[in-house]
């Protein structure tokens, strides 16, 4: 449906802000280079204040970068005002025009482009059908539920057939259940339309479920770019491992390296794991364990002592002490398994090929 899918390229982009209190300048975004392929769904993910929204607003044109150039479909767009850019944004607060009804909200951009009346009607009707709001044309926006307002905001952006669609935390005002439904729907529509989308969120599960590619940002810098699987299974920093999903970190020392594997010592105990980050022998490292990748048993890789055991319904939740570090473990579907209790001295189990060191 989109006239032309456009890619977005950020070349060494920086944005400097001034702290209103201390008057000190700081980098909100620092030397960021990104390449967003046409037609892909890319998420900017990070904690609040990491620069993800600033980056999005620079693409939309509301902020101007202090260094670097932004390209849309190969064209530099730094000097273009937001109204001249081939982007359309879905705002966190939806930002629907409260004095217009649904139809007029969706038609607003088309009218500005002097599209003939009949075409506007056709397009608006088609897009409202796509977002499942048929028959709501004459409703005022304050008569709609949060989810419906969200759909209007999406329709209003989609109908302009922009080169790239921008989302600024669009689901953060919805309740948890609706958030899950809407994100699936946004993904479905994006794929049906085949449009390039840049999506900002701080919700990692949202980012994983919706994206082709996730860009994880922290303190104004890109930490890692990769598919959801890549960033989950192969985080390249402790920050990413911690931010995406749950993770336990155990201090380790690399004893020796052989090919893709490394012998490490954790809490005085030796084991062999995969070494895809290629840490050389003799170096300090951290062993990253996902709670759901661990189990407890009579046999296992590391000695530990259970300090907490709680039934959570779909899983049994443990704390286990390895050396002097507490490891969280989620043991799913515990119905016919041995349940350990606090004080039990057992072994910690995991697939040495499925864990990694940093």
């Amino acid at each position: 449906m989109a006239k032309e899918k456009k890619g977005v390229r950020l070349e060494h982009i920086s944005k400097i802000y001034q702290d209103p209190k201390t008057k000190k300048e700081f980098y909100a975004v620092q030397d960021t280079t990104l390449d967003i392929e046409p037609g892909t769904f890319v998420t900017l993910l990070g904690p609040s204040g990491c620069g993800k929204t600033t980056t999005l607003r620079m693409i939309a044109g509301f902020e101007s970068p202090d260094e670097g150039e932004i390209y849309l479909g190969g064209e530099p767009i730094n000097a273009l005002t937001p109204n001249k850019r081939d982007t359309a944004m879905v705002f966190q607060s939806y930002a629907l025009l409260p004095h217009y009804n649904v139809f007029d909200n969706v038609a607003y951009g088309l009218k500005l482009r002097k599209v003939p009346k009949e075409t506007i009607k056709e397009k608006v009707t088609a897009i409202l059908k796509l977002v499942e709001l048929e028959g709501m044309e004459s409703r005022m926006t304050n008569q709609l539920s949060g989810g419906q307002q969200q759909r209007v905001a999406l329709a209003r952006a989609l109908v302009l057939e922009p080169g790239v669609l921008l989302f600024d935390e669009p689901l953060s005002n919805l309740d948890a259940k609706l958030r899950v439904t809407m994100r699936t729907e946004i993904r479905k529509i994006q794929q049906a339309v085949g449009i390039t989308a840049v999506y900002v969120t701080h919700d990692q599960s949202e980012a994983m479920s919706i994206s082709d590619k996730i860009i994880i940002m922290s303190k104004g810098k890109v930490e890692q770019i990769g598919s959801p699987q890549e960033v989950y299974y192969h985080p390249n920093s402790r920050f990413v491992a911690d931010f995406i999903g749950e993770a336990n970190f155990l201090d380790a020392k690399v004893e020796s390296v052989s090919g893709e594997n490394a012998d490490i010592v954790v809490a005085g105990q030796r084991l062999t794991v995969r070494n895809h980050t290629h840490i050389p022998a003799g170096k300090e490292a951290v062993l990253v364990l996902r709670p759901e990748a661990c189990g407890l048993g009579k046999e296992g890789l590391l000695d530990c002592e259970v300090t907490l055991s709680t039934f959570m319904g779909s899983y049994q939740y443990y704390h286990a002490l390895v050396g002097n570090k507490t490891v969280q473990i989620t043991d799913y579907n515990p119905v016919n398994k041995t349940i350990y209790k606090a004080g039990d001295k057992v072994k910690l189990n995991f697939d040495p090929n499925g864990v990694y060191i940093l």
Binding site: T81, M89, H99, N142
Partner: protein, 568 residues
Amino acid sequence: MAKSQSASLERKKFFADPILVSMIVVLVVFLLLFILYPLLMLLIDSFYTEGKVTLDVFKRVLSMKRFRTAFGNTVVLGLITGICSTLIGLLFAYVEEYVKVRTKFLEKLFGVVSMLPVVSPPFVLSLSMIMLFGRSGLITRKILGIYDSNVYGLKGIAIVQIMTFFPVCYMMLKGLLKNIDPSLEEATRDMGASRWKVFTSVTLPLLLPGLGNAFLVTFIESVADFANPMLIGGDYDTLATTIYLQVTGAYDSTGAAAMSVVLLSLTLILFLIQKYYLEKKTATTLTGKASRARMPIEDRSVTVPLTVLCSLAALFVVIMYIMVPFGALFKLWGRDYSLSLKWFQYMFKTSGLKAFRDSIVLSLIAAPLTALLSMIISYLVVKRKFRLKAFIEFVSMLAMAVPGTVLGIGYIRGYANGVFRTGFMQGLYGTGLILILVFIVRSLPTGTRSGISALRQIDPSIEESAYDMGANSARVFLTVTLPLIKDSFLSGLVTAFVRSITAISAVILLVTPQYLLITCQINEQAEKGNYGVACAYATVLILITYSMVMIMNAIIRVFGTSRTIRED
């Protein structure tokens, strides 16, 4: 770190919007020419004679005993009016917010009292004061049998000013009291404090910056007031009246300019304290909304005396206003209290019709211009970033601190011989256009302030979304901003009309025989002692302004956007 690239990009984006740029240019020229330039001329006049910088004019003015007395008088009057208005305003606000008011009647009364000063010309209370308490006053002579009552002077002006300005304090303080979280007071009550202790240890300290704010605002109003001291001042001259007499009586406009500089400095200092110190303080102590409704005080030993006190004060104010139409209807005040329409007939037979037509036409031209201008200024100030923004905001607010008399003198000095006495734009002086300009400048700050607060409540992303969908600034303003602040625009329109048609202090200096204005007619008739005619003018004027306000309220009720948008 250098922000040079973003600065240059912002500049490029800014100049890509020619309508926005030209709008700002027009605005800046307007503010320079009609607010800053006249004030600058006053400075030039008082410091620059015959080609050199000198303090001669000031020395001359300061040596006048009349001027020194007037300065002292003005400050004393300002202090009295400021303190009393603030206290009475506080009483009213406290009763409204804290005390359980049982009667509908009292609620109505409060509403009327807060509304009256808005719709009435600023000096009608002086008229009724004279008619009630003057030498042939209804109360003093008829009821009390006092024959030598003297209402003129400090006492008279102060009472009239307090009655005129306390509703402003009441409205300001009411808003602040509403924002005090009741749980703060409940917590101290719970810890064992008496009501009085709660008031002195919680409510009052929280309110203190607000009280200071209210005091300064009334102080400025009192100092700038021209018409009341003129009518009821007797020989108690204030700066505003002295300046007026210096021009119209002594034909000494350089002297008047120097006096104006003194008056302006006084109001300006107070204004700066109010704006940049107290307003911020009020905002920091009282942020956020009250979490829930306050439990009103029901203790009769508190409610009864407070309610009675307020009702009496409110009734007194209402009676004062009711006196105005009666003043016009009685045959001869002080002697013959039979009803007749002769003053109205006299008014319409003489210059009445022309005065009403001129006043209404000029105000009707000024009002929409003012409203539009103030909405544009608010939009630029709240929603856009550009270099001259602070200048535009400051100058349009500055006009609030400029007393009408000072502005009038500034226009005389600045335009009587053209801009900088070059003859350029000389045609402006003595026309209706200059009156319209004065009207606009005088109402601009109020409109801008209400526009700014209305716009601050609108989520900035709504306008951003329109911008993002392809609208330029003018488009965003017309299709999004303006419809969303329609109510504020409408009330700005009516306020500007009311303020213009009731204005006197600046225009009385600039009006030429070609135009007759209602307010000037009232002043003239009252000075001659023709209170019947003055009251007839005032009555019709109040009717006009009141019906305008009513029409506006009806329009907002029917077509207002806010209600449909804001109810969630």
